[in-house]
Subunit: 285 residues, 2 copies
């Protein structure tokens, strides 16, 4: 599948920039126009290596202008057009409705919104889409693997004590969803009583530096440590996944774009996918 | 299944002692006679809490005396008798032949010998048996889980660099089989070139203490750390399993004894099992 054109909705946000750069590294074409939220500049510049693209940003203020921009891109590129959405939780459903009504393949990386409504609108439309709240492929793989471990070996950690510490940039208010998912798996494997509130959250510079996060990544990281100790203390298991910056997520998005473009080109019967589908296909770079 | 009587073959070895104690803690009865190798004392004492048992040790010197001891125990306890074998690699096949010819349920924890011949003799005999080279149930579970992760997500760690360090008591000459098995899984997940020789083995006091092993466990531990780093260094995964002493293995043996006694009592059609079967049954304590 060559000649993919990517519309990066969510520029000039940090994730929008990172993803655009990952796509350019893969040899995909970045469309010179994208949808954005209110109060954004008229355009922005994306640079990766020797490639530099000026992207015109179409906000929501003029009625119909976003739909018009999308329709024009679709007319120009047909099925080679793939939308990536890293916008805002409040935009998830309106954007999903726009993409499906215009009929453009998309990758939804934005979290939040009414996920059930999004899935229904997408399935009803017949549009090809990857809908995935976490694009970090190894982390998604680990999360799915631990869930399978819990299903296959239900009592494996019976009598073990669990400790969980997660560190994210201080702008993240809630507990990590990944940490909660892994805790849920460990609970199924029989660990001693552990509530989600027992997850230790680090959100300040000092404790994060003590945890090993470097100065430059204090404002963008996701570090997790899960420790399991046997009742008598003679056995200890530890699982860590430490992501600094956003590059691994943006690479996962580029994987998703290439995957869904190929599914569209081959007219796959299944049309809605998540990261597990992509991982199982083993097509990641 | 109550009233299980355990014949602990391999006393007075350290593992024989640990396993006997685990069985007593579970409320199983330790038989006052057991088979042992050449050059061992006539008996030994096993103590756990307020229970103390003198076990007569029957060596291989007097022809037929081991068979006779086994037949007498079988006559006294019938199907409630379960043998545990932690003897020597050279005894695996002769002992297996003895157990199957007398018709006693057994748990083979001894490694080495001709495993294929052991399986064949056991399957042909119709005797119930657990044959498992590693009784550390969580470690077996992790090993199986990582193998499944490799099967499900073949390219998950593509482009990652692997580092492996394992530490065992200095009497262990070869590389850890568990470490090799996990490396094999990571290889299938696409990590950069990594040979088994690249596994870093710690076998001396100083490096082991620096690795975190406590003084008292230098002569009995199994510590493993696997680190995976993305090509650009922005993502790091780490998996650790640190076992100090032998207690977790002995608890796994007690699980196996209770499992196989129940299989024998219910006249299970399947008769030969490994630790994965026990883990999947979720019956561990």
């Amino acid at each position: 599948m060559s000649g993919i054109v990517v519309m990066m909705n969510g520029l000039p946000g940090a994730m929008g920039h990172e993803v655009s750069q990952a796509c350019i590294r893969r040899g995909l074409t970045l469309a010179p126009v994208a949808l954005t939220g209110g109060g954004q500049p008229a355009d922005c510049q994306v640079t990766e290596g020797s490639t530099s693209v000026t992207v015109k940003l179409v906000g929501p203020d003029a009625a119909g202008s976003q739909r018009k921009a999308l329709e024009e891109l679709k007319k120009a590129h047909g099925n080679r057009l793939v939308i990536i959405d890293f916008t805002h939780p409040t935009a998830v459903n309106p954007n999903g409705d726009l993409y499906t009504s215009v009929g453009v393949t998309y990758v939804m990386g934005t979290t939040g919104g009414d996920r059930e409504a999004l899935m229904k609108a997408t399935n009803d439309s017949g549009v090809y889409a990857v809908i995935a709240p976490n694009m970090g492929k190894q982390i998604v793989a680990l999360q799915a693997t631990m869930e399978r471990m819990a299903r296959d070996f239900p009592g494996a950690f019976s009598g073990y004590k669990l400790e969980v510490t997660e560190s994210h940039q201080k702008t993240k208010a809630d507990t990590s969803g990944t940490a909660k998912a892994l805790v849920s798996s460990f609970q199924k494997m029989g660990v001693d009583k552990f509530e989600m509130d027992d997850i230790k959250m680090l959100r300040d510079d000092e404790s994060q530096k003590a945890f090993g996060v470097s100065e430059e990544h204090l404002n963008g990281h996701a570090w997790h440590t899960y420790t399991l100790k046997s009742g008598d203390g003679s056995v200890e298991f530890q699982f860590k996944h430490n992501v600094s910056g956003r590059r691994t997520y943006s690479e996962g998005v580029a994987d998703a774009v290439q995957f869904i473009a190929a599914k569209c080109a081959e007219k796959s019967k299944k049309r809605t996918f998540d990261m597990i589908d992509i991982l199982e296909a083993g097509v990641m770079q």
